[in-house]
């Protein structure tokens, strides 16, 4: 895993989302980073936990502006948050995501599941940046066993989602889905990440579409074909006994037999894979005497993708799947507050 020397491309700073853009330097209280494999997103918070400003860059840990050994992490850090720190050099800085992996800036060893927010705070690892500011890195979570599971970044989003969840729901067990390249399904109980599964749905979809025979007959439609998607979901749910290795071939054979147009094949395949993911999740839930239909759940992630999951979940009888917005920001703020990086009180109602 070598780092590329590709240049850092910093996006324009976004307009402030929840506070006036002018005069925020005085009230800034925290810088928080969501630092993944292929991207780096920075948030500037005021003392109330409101986002003043965000910045984004492609300088993920595998895409640093120069090699890590030559100060690549510092360079990426400075390019994204240097201006904020120039204005307010004493701001605390927190980060979550792959920046704490073995390939990151400094490894923040996994905390074992079940994991509370306190355990994450206890596991924070500090790295001294070249400009002297310490960077507080939130650890990921490991569920060890015969089929280990790991997350880095999602734990922070989950505690962000819990910040606005009903306490009762958290008590009886809340299922949180994080669709994406490696989709996670996380059971939270008593304010702890209790257990979770990882489904490589997004990455498998890309690999099948781009690198197998299934892609050869596919055409990307102008817009997503919901009917084809739902057809795939239902086939996985009702006819999926032989497993995903068998059903995916129907993407091709339905085309060969004139039952699925080329433009329908991508959404059909996507539906098949998400349907198999939910069938697998249903089977895992059954071992815990639970079902998708009986679960209240939350979704975190890209809105369009979460909407596809909501449609698919409805095919499994689950009609209560709420999209949680700004889970990353909320989670970073909450963990920083719990770690004492910002005043606990400042997370509450009024600004001073």
């Amino acid at each position: 895993m070598t780092q590329t020397g590709s240049t850092l491309s910093t996006e324009q700073a976004q307009p402030a989302q929840t506070a006036a853009a002018a005069g925020h330097a005085a009230s800034a209280a925290l810088i928080a980073l969501d630092w993944g494999t292929t991207s780096l997103r920075a948030y500037l918070f005021d003392a109330n936990g409101a986002v003043l400003e965000t910045r984004a860059s492609t300088a993920g840990i595998m895409n640093l502006p120069r090699p890590a050994a030559e100060g690549g992490f510092d360079a990426a850090f400075d390019a994204v948050v240097g201006a904020w720190l120039d204005r307010a050099p004493e701001l605390p800085v927190i980060a979550a995501g792959m920046v704490g992996s073995a390939q990151g800036w400094k490894e923040a060893p996994y905390v074992n599941a079940p994991a509370s927010a306190d355990a994450l705070v206890d596991g924070i690892v500090r790295v001294q940046t070249a400009r002297g500011v310490p960077l507080n890195i939130v650890p990921g979570v490991l569920q060890n066993g015969e089929l280990p599971n790991v997350m880095r970044g999602e734990e922070t989003q989950i505690f962000g989602a819990l910040a606005c969840a009903e306490p009762s729901a958290a008590g009886k067990g809340l299922l949180i889905g994080l669709p994406g390249t490696h989709a996670k399904w996380v059971m939270v109980r008593d304010a702890k990440i209790e257990r979770f599964d990882t489904f490589m749905t997004g990455e498998v979809f890309a690999a099948l579409s781009e690198h197998t025979i299934l892609g050869r007959t596919m055409l990307t439609p102008d817009q997503p074909d919901t009917d084809a998607f739902l057809r795939g979901v239902r086939v996985a749910r009702d006819k999926g006994k032989a497993g995903v290795l068998a059903t995916i071939f129907s993407t091709r054979t339905l085309g060969l037999t004139g039952q699925l147009a080329r433009e329908q094949q991508p959404d059909y395949l996507s539906g098949l894979l998400i349907g198999h993911e939910l069938s697998g999740l249903e089977a895992a839930l059954a071992q815990q005497q639970s079902t998708l239909a009986g679960s209240a759940l939350q979704l975190i992630g890209n809105e369009a993708l979460c909407e596809r999951y909501r449609l698919a979940l409805a095919q499994f009888g689950c009609h209560q799947a709420d999209l949680v917005k700004q889970a990353t920001e909320r989670g970073l703020w909450r963990i920083a507050a719990q770690a004492g990086l910002v005043s606990e009180a400042s997370g509450a109602a009024q600004a001073t």
Copy 2:
């Protein structure tokens, strides 16, 4: 699907396998072609159905020496069997495989399952070659329905395998596995291809190894690691409820947690996928009141791969899986004989 202009590379003719190399021109009775997507293999038979000579080329239908519209099929045909036809211009020629697909020389429409050898014979399509010899193309088999399945080439191998199967076994139902890029599992009953499933196991393994995060931590071992393979099979069998999209991630996480060396990861992943394939097959068999443990079955294909499947099948309680050799040659001969291209009698015992 465009044809490349890559040059035809004809291998050295192999030594005759079952007949004296000398003087065979006089006794040659049939030319048979196994013409797939990426390869073309030719067999010269004597009047007893013994193989006198074989030739192989990379001129599969997607790899013709020149475009199809510019005589690419004829060029490939001449390069491989021209010398045989120069010596014996009247020889009948039969072919099976993708040469009969919509992208082939001439489409031989699928025969519907359940399909007998007679139905295949009735579906033979003839194309006139430039040198005037007619080429008889065996059709593939289609099992239509909500999850259609197709085969081209395997139907011929199956009837080759049946040529040496116990008649009793064929009567009560014989399960035939054809491992490979797109593995087929075929139920044969009353000398008909009754139903079948396709598992994209080989192609998915390649796509996951080469084009997903799983490949990043893998190292190819000097020799296959049977323990790692069997571990994967057992995980799929016993812990695979969440499905293959979930279990494959353990290839990475077992590595991250120091439980699976990089050199073990390819065989572990292969075991996982084949284990999921057999679990899926078991579930499909259950719908027909059958089990893998209770099945006598045959395997057709690459010997090393079939041996891996035998090991995996034993984990599912199936200890009777016989490897069928030369199924392709036997099948081509049998269908040619049944089609009257060679004298029926000449398939029997003695040479003249």
